[in-house]
């Protein structure tokens, strides 16, 4: 086995053949066997294999985008299960973007945030309020609901509003550290949910526990977005943008500053890094992705109420980050995909199967033990197992490797001569 892997590792053409055949096989099996969840998951996992190939990054991206934007929808489109597959894929995308946002806060900047879903809620409510008749209750001007075209502007607005709340939360909260920070953010998450739950009096802003119903579907060039298969593409575009931005930030000056703050606050400050500003930036950037996805979520569900934003959601997102590998973008993507699919597909399928078994009288499983209800138990188990055996996560974070040639191509060597030392560095 190991020998084979070694051969595979060295031979690019072989890799191309294997991954091509894999994608083709899973594509055809999903195309033909429509109700096969397994085929759907296998096709999705081709992206994971793609990650491990030794192609250049550009090739990987092109193949990945091709699979996601053409092959997956096409293969799934041949039957009744189409929309439910796309629904799952859309939710996976939403959770990945949120997990990437949280990864900046927890993984890179090292600030444990247990109330992260609050920003998602803020994004969802921002669109929900103005895309229903709700805004008429307190806005003195304008006519609501706004049309579906406004959705695209609200993506930006949701992003900005969430970022602002990220900063507002950060200013008081960042005075405490570590465990205390976790507890305070947990409190913040709950406060936001409870405020939304109760903000129907004195002025009815959020419609309280009743929630906001019939949110306007987004509209583009006269086409209304109603189905998961359409939202899938919206989410895909935002997700790709998110990954792009997160990667760029990670390997830039601000990414280094985040990691430095995580590693040692005092030393980071001594190197001239403004502590509060850097942490606030992490909160704001992390929150903004979440807020943007909140807007999409509100439009997709066409219904927003506080029960979608409980503490369990925050914990779920944190589990994704820890499972995948804190600070590792590929890891977090994998973690988010696994946890979401486990939640939506595996557990529900398992429950259905067990129900069938008990209906046909083979075995009897009490309702309280159905896998769908064991979500928290399973998360707990996952966390314990990972803390014990793989604390770095599935795909641990990697430090950037530098190329010696590029490093050496600089001008004169400081150690070579006194002149060099003065001229090269200490001039600026």
């Amino acid at each position: 086995m190991k020998k084979w892997l070694n051969v595979l590792e060295k031979n690019k053409r072989l890799q191309a053949t294997v991954i091509g055949m894999y994608i083709a096989t899973t594509f055809i099996s999903l195309y033909l066997a429509q109700k096969s969840v397994v085929a759907f998951l296998l096709l999705l996992s081709s992206l994971l294999f793609l990650y491990f190939t030794s192609f250049s990054n550009r090739v990987k991206w092109v193949i990945g985008i091709l699979v996601l934007s053409v092959l997956l929808p096409l293969a799934a489109s041949q039957g009744e299960a189409y929309q439910s597959y796309m629904e799952v894929a859309t939710l996976v995308g939403i959770y990945i973007a949120m997990a990437l946002g949280l990864n900046i806060v927890v993984g890179l900047a090292g600030l444990l945030d247990l109330g992260f879903v609050a920003f998602f809620a803020i994004g969802a409510y921002t669109y929900g309020i103005f895309a229903t008749a709700q805004a008429n209750n307190f806005m003195p001007f304008g006519h609501y609901p706004l049309s579906g075209e406004s959705f695209w502007i609200f993506l930006i607005i949701g992003c900005i509003v969430a970022a602002i709340f990220g900063v507002l939360l950060g200013i008081p909260v960042l005075r405490v550290k570590g465990d205390y920070l976790a507890i305070v953010t947990l409190g913040f998450g709950e406060i936001i949910r409870i405020i939304f739950n109760n903000l129907d009096k004195p002025v009815n802003i959020t419609n309280g526990a009743m929630g906001l119903a019939s949110v306007q579907p987004p509209k583009l060039f006269g086409i209304e977005f109603m189905y998961p298969s359409q939202f899938y593409y919206v989410v895909l575009v935002i997700l790709l943008l998110t990954i792009f931005i997160v990667r760029r930030l990670e390997y830039s000056k601000i990414g280094r500053a985040w990691k430095a703050v995580r590693e040692n606050e005092i030393a980071a400050q001594a190197m001239g890094i403004p502590l509060v500003r850097t942490k606030l930036m992490a909160f704001a950037v992390g929150a903004s992705f979440s807020g943007m996805m909140g807007v999409v979520f509100a439009a997709k569900q066409t219904f927003v109420d506080p029960t979608s934003f409980t503490l369990l959601e925050s914990i779920t997102i944190l589990v994704m980050v820890i499972l995948g590998g804190m600070g590792s973008v590929p890891g977090v993507i994998l973690g988010a995909a696994l946890v979401t699919i486990l939640n939506l597909q595996v557990l529900t399928e398992l429950t259905n199967w067990l129900n069938q078994l008990s209906l046909s009288g083979v075995v009897h499983i009490p309702d309280a033990l159905s896998p769908a209800k064991m979500q928290r138990f399973i998360f707990g188990l996952i966390l314990i197992v990972f803390a014990l055996y793989r604390p770095q996560g599935l795909l641990p974070a990697k430090n950037p490797r530098f190329d010696e040639k590029e490093l050496k191509s600089g001008v004169t060597n400081v150690a070579d001569g006194k002149e060099g030392a003065k001229g090269v560095y200490f001039n600026g």
Binding site: I266, A267, I273, N399, K408, G410, N413, K422, Y425, G428
Partner: protein, 258 residues
């Protein structure tokens, strides 16, 4: 010409007076040592100069400009950099990244440059990398540039802290027990490095050190603290023969040694 002036600096932690009315005048381009028994208030003095602690009273002037009230990162931007007594590296980052963090304030590109990876930003990053590599060469760690900082041997970690401090382009460099835990060979290398930095990079260096051989060898000016008070200052020869210092810190053997 003095570059750093400390005037009647006092720090109280509750009832404990860690520093009491300390006066210090550091000449530009000099190597100054601060010595004294453990608990004398040497690191407290460093922490006040770098903005980690705010003084209870007194003033700190860098080129005539007061540093009191500034945050640590602002002090760093003014041109004071430091290393730490208990090594504080960014342990999970690579050696080269550690040095690049030191350049933070000198990299100008903003958020949009970073996201769009503009030519300006790429050029700046590339120069920063090369500069970081040169600094590693300077302290002799260039072969370890891709290692995680936590995997480095002890002496190398101390050197990396110096390289990282140099990356901030300081005018004044504070070294807090740079030779602690080093063997004689490493100490000799370090002594040369400190000397070279002053000569080649026109730095002003202030160091806290217990290794008297190193202190007496390279410093031009020595300040002795005991129980938070300055008990003596002067050239190495003055200090070696100062009765108060011998009693409080050096011990009787010091006059005959070295």
């Amino acid at each position: 010409m003095s570059i750093l002036t400390v005037k009647q600096l006092t720090k109280q932690f509750g009832g404990l007076i860690a520093n009491n009315n300390i006066d210090m005048d550091v000449q530009k381009g000099s190597i100054t040592a601060v010595i004294g028994p453990n608990g004398a208030g040497k690191t407290t003095l460093f922490n006040m100069v770098t903005g980690v602690y705010q003084p209870t009273s007194g003033d700190i002037l860098l080129n005539g400009e007061s540093l009191v009230g500034l945050k640590p990162h602002q002090v760093a931007q003014k041109g004071i950099s430091r290393t730490f007594q208990n090594i504080r590296l960014f342990r999970a980052m690579t050696v080269l990244e550690n040095v690049m963090v030191g350049m933070h304030t000198h990299l100008r590109s903003g958020l949009f440059h970073m996201i769009l990876s503009t030519p300006l930003m790429r050029k700046e990053e590339k120069e920063a990398k090369q500069e970081a590599y040169r600094l590693l060469q300077y302290v002799g760690l260039e072969s370890l540039y891709n290692e995680e900082a936590k995997n480095l041997p002890y002496g190398a970690q101390r050197k990396l802290e110096i390289a990282r401090a140099l990356a901030t382009k300081p005018k004044v460099l504070l070294l807090d027990e740079p030779a602690a835990g080093m063997n004689p060979k490493e100490t000799a290398e370090l002594t040369k490095l400190i000397y070279d930095m002053r000569e080649q990079l026109q730095l002003t260096i202030i160091l806290i050190e217990h290794d008297m051989k190193l202190v007496m060898e390279i410093s031009e000016h020595i300040i002795v603290l005991d129980h938070g008070e300055k008990i003596a200052e002067g050239t190495p020869d003055d200090i070696r023969n100062n009765e108060k210092v011998i009693e409080a810190y050096l011990g009787k053997g010091a006059t005959t040694a070295s």
